[in-house]
Amino acid sequence: MPDLSRRKFLQASALAATTVVVSGCTVDLQRTEHLESYVRPPEEGLPGDNLWFASTCRQCSAGCGIIVRVSNGRARKIEGNPHHPLNQGKLCARGQAALQELYDPDRLRNAVRQADRGTLAFQPLYWEDALAELSGRLRSVDAGEIALILGNPSSHLWNVASRFADALGMRPPLAYTFGDELTGQPSLLQASAVLLGEAAQPVYDIANAEAVFSFGANFLETWISPVYYSRAYSRMRRGPLGKRGYVVQFEPRLSSTAVSADEWVRIRPGTEGLVASGLGKILVDKGLLGATALAGFYEGVSVAEVAEASGVPAEELERLAGIFAEVASPVAIAGGGVTAHTGGIEAATAVHALNLLAGQVGQPGGVYLPPAPADDVFAPPPLSSFAEVQQLIDDMRAGRVKLLLVHGANPAFELPAASGFDSALAGVPYVVSFSSTVDETAARASLVLPDHTNLEAWGYHVPPVADRMLISGQQPVMRPLYDTRSTVDVFLALAQEFGGAVSEALPWTNEVDMLQTVLDAFRGQNVAPGAFWAEWRRRGGQWADAPEWRAPAASGAFGQPLSTQQLMPRLGGDESAHPLHLYPSITLFDGRGANKAWLQETPDPVTTVSWQTWIEIEPHTAEELGLEDGDVVRVISMATEVEAIVYLQPGLQEGVLAMPVGRGHEHYGRFAKGYGSNPIQLLAAIVDEDTGGLAWGATQVRIEPVGRQQELARLESDAGIAYMREEH
């Protein structure tokens, strides 16, 4: 611009500024606001004043306590309940974002019927008609042909649903979500039954540990009870024992947890158990923990082979074993990565054996069990294995399931294409969903009976991981926004109508009656029922004041010796293929967070990408494959293919491809639909025979460039971390 002198520029600026000021003055400075009066005012509280209600977060199975600020009858903000022993006032991003589940503009507002399944031509129903239709359908088929899938049920829903199923003679209900599979929960329960003598999630006393060896457990992000463990981690780092705890993370990918750890050990996928056995072998051989008597258990383990297979040099293993032996209270955690391959029990045994060697089972800073529930109704809901789900799918395909009920799970999204769920679902004559939004499963349902969202609902939940007796209470913080109905109330209404054994098994008139009756067990002798109920709601549940650490009774770990051959990872697919490492997104988890714009917008902590699905490739591998940052590629497995954008990630094992789970929805509302792709679909349905778990780490995939580029929406430099590392 050769003609633009300083003078002309200033004149132009002055003119522009004057125009802006003059035009601004034409706007009336007084605000004209419209006020809407309530149709029905909220029952409690004053206009403009805040009320806080204590309840329980239900975004994952952990069951953290929350307090919700409510003003003018609307929930405004969710925080952690400072008195709740599990999270003590802390809350993760997913918990905070639960508000957007409540105010999701694409929520179902009433019960609907869909004559032509999959067309989304929903026909609104009155609840009386909807319930009459459901009860008619339930009567019209043999009870043994009715199946129920729950995902992340609260304890009280599990109790009611399983009693209903039992009394009616239905198939036993399943509780399965892919998020639980990724965190290894069902498989780890199986391993616990063998190793600790009880099918309960072990509780790791990270707070008092001096060294934490985490084998594929993303305990600061998504693993089982991330807020509880993050809090314990922060205490460990502040050093209650006078020194700062040391964390070693064994994982193929640099996760957020690995970033926070002192050391990230880059292992090959599926070698978590192998590495643990190698460490154990060194500890025993060198007598580092004075446990030479156990040499027989490690006879079949060869450190050289472990080093070769895992990619961790033998000297490195020796150094790490030295750290484990040096500290007074080390602990080894078996995470989701351990059970991601076949042979999950052996791998979990190898990890647990380290705790036994160090004498850390039932010791401060070691492994404990959660308190034994006083009654079955106060137990965490049991989890089903993938094998049980696959059995159901096979039965659906064989025509042995005539009616399918789905609550809280989204199997049409979160089961691999290879499981055959989609075609099997089409073969089930009648499908009922209880989803509050139209997710992929509800879109294929005959009848949708929307449940309340968490903030509108009653209930109680027993967390799977807790250091004390803890029953977390759930109460509505506001009146339901729409004409939805609690699924527990639906089951209770059906039970009353069916009469006989079913109504005997469920003798309560409604959900609140059920809660008050069941929870009466905790009422003190001289406390009036009303006073107890008020206190229950005020506190947000019932818990012991002090931790009750419970040492496991049995430890069968040394029954069967370990062997390197057994612990070797077994991958499927051809040699030109690459192992696929899936991980749950810290915000979207297994995809249930995708309908919340806040979570979609929150950048992934490691890659800083939001809204899209990327595939992480180690730079040298990418170079071999001729791929660059931002290339769109087709990821191809035996089952299907999906598209993703290449993200060069130096923090990844060579040859491994890593993808986040959570996006790629076809339905599930405007914020989920059409963003990213769904890598779960790629997985082969390989089942670990011992645990019944899905070997989600055993799938190998090929990638092909599509021939175009797409920029990733990321917070960091456009060039990516790979570039920055090379330059600086």
Partner: protein
């Protein structure tokens, strides 16, 4: 340095003139804008505007003539920060028995009952809307013995409510806060009392 880039005499003077012109224009524009807001003639206009924006033309005079106290419909004034607008449920609570539309032929009541049936809220224009940096609480004012009309005027003579006085800092300080006894005055003239 080329010729056109050289600083020339008079260059800065011209810039100054432009700048001064800018200041004058801004000042005039602001003064004009503020006068429109602060002028008493705008109250009547606002009232007419309010009537046009509201879903119904609510008749305060009629309700007060029936001896209904202000706090019956606006109980928030004595209990909390904001007086609040009554819910539709409160309107219907009376009007399902009194002046029921079908019998009296009242158009306004008919609208209310219809909105209630449809579950739709009534819309109202905001009459007194203090800026966000003012912390105001009705309760201490009522507790200090001020009645509603002290600030809101004689609503018993209004149909649709309108702002009888322009409620701003001058109104609060000059009419009331400044004329309290010295102990109270010190507290009530403190900035942080209302702008905390």
């Amino acid at each position: 340095m080329t010729d056109s880039e050289k600083p020339r005499p008079g260059h800065w003077r011209r810039t100054l003139v432009v700048f001064l012109a800018l200041v004058v224009v801004t000042g005039l524009a602001l003064a004009f804008g503020l006068r429109a807001v602060a002028g008493t003639e705008s109250v009547a206009a606002a009232s007419a505007e309010a009537e046009a924006e509201a879903t119904i033309t609510f008749n305060h005079r009629r309700h007060l003539a029936a001896d209904i106290p202000c706090l019956f419909c606006h109980p928030g004034a004595i209990n909390g920060q904001v007086a609040s607008i009554p819910s539709l449920q409160k309107c219907v609570g009376c009007h399902q028995n009194i002046e029921v539309a079908r019998e009296s032929g009242q158009v306004t009541v008919n609208t209310v009952l219809q909105m209630w049936d449809e579950g739709r809220p009534l819309e109202w224009p905001s009459i007194v809307d203090l800026p966000d940096f003012v912390y105001f609480n009705h309760r201490p004012h009522l507790a200090a013995g001020k009645n509603c009309e002290y600030c809101h005027g004689d609503v018993s003579q209004m149909t649709m409510a309108h702002e009888a006085f322009r409620i701003n800092m001058g109104f609060c300080l000059e009419n009331c806060h400044r004329h309290q006894d010295p102990v109270k005055r010190e507290r009530l003239m403190d900035c942080a009392t209302c702008h905390m």
